[in-house]
Amino acid sequence: MAQSTRTPLSLREREPGAGPLLPAEGLKRHLPGVEPDRQLNDWGRSERVEGVFDATLAEFFYRYWFRAEVEGIENVPAAGGALLASNHSGALPPDAAMIAKAIKEEHPHPRPLNITVEHFFKGYPGFSMLIPKIGCVAAHPANVHRLLFDEDQLVLVFPEGRKGTEKLYKDRYRLRRFGRGGFVVAAMRARAPIVPVCVVGAEEAAPVFAQLGLFKRLTGLLYFPITPTFPHFGLLGMLGYLPAKFKIRFLDPIAFDEEGLHEDKALVQTVAHDIRARIQENLWDMLAHRRSVWFG
């Protein structure tokens, strides 16, 4: 793995892909039009709910509580589909909302960000109703492909998945395995660039000290963490973040312009490892320059 982290990501040298061409190319223009009277889009995203969420909770946490600092926002493309891959942490992870807010606040062409979440949320009452309204989408390969390829949107994935949010405070900032590289396949299929994202501060904002398997099973939740405020302050304790300083760094995008790259499993794994290594390196770098958890 040591040498794979140094592999150059320029993929131009590869011979043209042997895989089949994307058949869906011609269907893009048949996407349904926007009905201006609607408040929800086809994914269930609600402008109104999202606006309220953005103006209250997200605004408060971004500006005053976490005092987020953003680097490299220009690496997020202003148009076309792009896949953002970030490290993940925290009980009810604040990182996704902060990245979305960062793009909204700092980017010269702010665009909505679609946050991929576990299928679990669609099946859990309450979450099922709220989660899509604020821009979350189930992490299904077909969903990611449609967003990236057909709708030219920004999509945020956490390649660590659940393993990232389950990890305890003692393992902070140590990236878990990056799944099976599904996010790389999705980006390659859609020929959309991947923008790696590093977030520092989320681990300290919502530290998890233990996971209770028994309560997880009893409540049917994804996991049942013990944090400074949960479960003794109830469900709202999930929002009881400590005021750690947030730093978000967007790294250089990796472009996949050729068709059929995703057919090459070895290439997919190499790229996934490389992205993981780049995020990890940058995290160590950001941590090395951080003087205080609370003040940066």
Binding site: L27, L31, E35, F127, M129, A138
Partner: protein
């Protein structure tokens, strides 16, 4: 452009079968529309011929071969388990489809195209579904409700048919939930309640298709060659809360997220039936990708949102219109009379030419096939006799042709004469009216007057005029002499006097 000329519609008594047959009748290039079903048609049809046969493949095969059907449209599929029992639905959906396909398959079958009406219930509703199903996606889980299982099995037999009959075009249309003023589904029933029921904590995504778009999509598949599977659903996926808002109704999260099955069983006792497949939708919802059908040239007339708005308009208007018109009832004798009797003028007068040409073709074909079978039978023997019979058949065909031509001529003559006659009568009528203006229908009470009950008569009175009332009063006194009716007439008359 249209290769389908002789079309068999299965499930003629279903809403879709009837609507489609009506639509196909309007195409002049369609020679014959034949509808089969166990039940009688529910809508008025002009030239569709109804054959009372279910899904018995031997009988169907004979119909298909005799009428040289080139296109079969199967509209029978039951997609709402509230309409019938699970075993009947299975019989219809799986066994029926198998039999119909058996009747169409084989190298010597005239069938060139099969259009099958399926449903997006094919995909089911699960937690880990994609937000938009496209036609290539298989289910991640085995079907969980009986209806879904039926649909998956029926489509499997269609795939098998397509494999074995590569010359035939097989089109499967998977329709999303249908909304519209005339069609009845479980979801429309749920939406017509005072509040839209929901499962607490869930706001599922729904996609709808308007009933007219369903008929148009079936028509589209008949008119164009579009092999494969197509999702048919209006643009736009709505959240259920949004649907309630568009209908102008509150939503009622009356179903608990856990133990939903028990609550549904309790509601069923109270008379509200939520079928299993609808319950799955109420929890997880479903969206489909409709772009493939659009790419094949189809244009939707309504988006999902517009379909809901139309339903909302209908639901508001419905209580006012209720009981307005009587439902159509199929009477075999009447239908046959209207189609075949030489005395029926109305239809013939309007399209004398085209109808007799149709008949001519029909006759030719019939006689041709008769000649053919006659020839075939005699291959193993008296070829002289065969030739003679062939000659006879040909002569008869020629005769029939002449007869048909004569009939055409006669029909046009009749039409002309009838037109002249009607003209003259109309003139006479006007003159007569002018001559005897004031008393219009002296002595004649409303039709079927004697069949009416006293209440019905009284309800009618307000709409009658003075002279009619007088007549009616005389008639009533002479015949039934019901005092209630008489006094009511008197009071209406008195009111009229004071007003004047």
């Amino acid at each position: 452009m249209m290769d389908s000329r002789r079309i068999l519609v299965t499930g003629l008594s279903t809403y879709w079968g009837g609507r489609l047959a009506q639509a196909l009748e309007a195409f002049p290039e369609v020679e014959a529309v034949i509808g089969v079903d166990n039940e009688e048609p529910q809508v008025e049809l002009e030239r569709t011929e109804y054959v009372k046969v279910g899904a018995q493949h031997a009988l169907l095969r004979r119909v298909v071969e005799a009428a040289e059907i080139d296109t079969v449209v199967d509209t029978r599929l039951v997609v709402d388990s509230a309409t019938t029992t699970a075993s009947k639905a299975h019989e219809n959906n799986v066994i029926g489809t198998m039999n119909i396909l058996a009747a169409c398959s084989g190298a010597d079958s005239p069938v060139r195209k099969v259009v099958f009406k399926s449903s997006t219930h094919f995909y089911g509703c699960e937690q880990d579904d994609p937000a938009f199903f496209d036609e290539t996606m298989a289910r991640a889980h085995p079907p969980s409700t009986p209806i879904e299982r039926d649909i998956v099995e029926a489509e499997a037999s269609l795939n098998e048919f397509a494999e074995k009959n590569p010359a035939a075009t097989v089109t499967i249309l998977r329709f999303a939930n249908v909304l519209g003023p005339d069609v009845r589904t479980s979801h429309i029933h749920l939406f017509s309640l005072p509040a839209v029921p929901m499962i607490l904590g869930f706001d599922p995504r729904y996609q709808f298709v308007h009933e007219d778009d369903v008929v148009h999509a079936l028509e589209h598949a008949v008119k164009h060659d579009a092999p494969g599977v197509f999702n048919v659903a209006g643009d736009g996926v709505l959240a259920l809360t949004e649907v309630a808002g568009l209908l102008g109704k509150p939503y009622a999260p009356i179903l608990p997220p856990w133990g939903t099955g028990l609550a549904v069983a309790a509601l069923r006792r109270l008379g509200l039936r939520i079928p299993a497949e609808a319950l799955a939708q109420l929890r997880y919802g479903r969206g489909v990708d409709n772009r493939r059908l659009k790419a094949s040239g189809f244009r939707y007339q309504h988006t999902s949102r517009e379909a809901v708005l139309k339903l909302g308009e209908h639901l508001r208007l419905h209580p006012v219109l209720r009981g307005g018109q009587e439902p159509y009832r199929y009477e075999r004798e009447v239908e046959e009379f209207l189609r075949w009797s030489p005395h029926v003028r109305d239809v013939r007068e309007r399209q004398a030419g085209s109808l007799s040409r149709d008949q001519l073709i029909e006759l030719r074909r019939l006689l041709g096939s008769f000649a053919e079978t006659a020839g075939m039978e005699d291959l193993d023997g008296q070829s002289g006799a065969a030739a003679e019979r062939l000659a006879t058949a040909e002569r008869r065909a020629a005769e029939a042709e002449q007869a048909a031509e004569r009939a055409e001529q006669a029909a046009s003559e009749v039409a002309e004469r009838a037109a002249a006659e009607a003209d003259r009568r109309a003139r006479d009528e006007v003159e007569r009216r002018v001559a005897e203006r004031p008393p219009r229908r002296i002595g004649s009470p409303p039709e079927h007057y004697d069949d009416l009950a006293a209440e019905e008569v009284i309800a009618l009175l307000a709409s009658l005029e003075r002279d009619d009332l007088q007549t009616l009063r005389d008639y009533e006194r002479q015949h039934a002499n019901r005092s209630r009716v008489l006094s009511a007439i008197d009071s209406v008359l008195a009111r009229g006097e004071t007003r004047v």
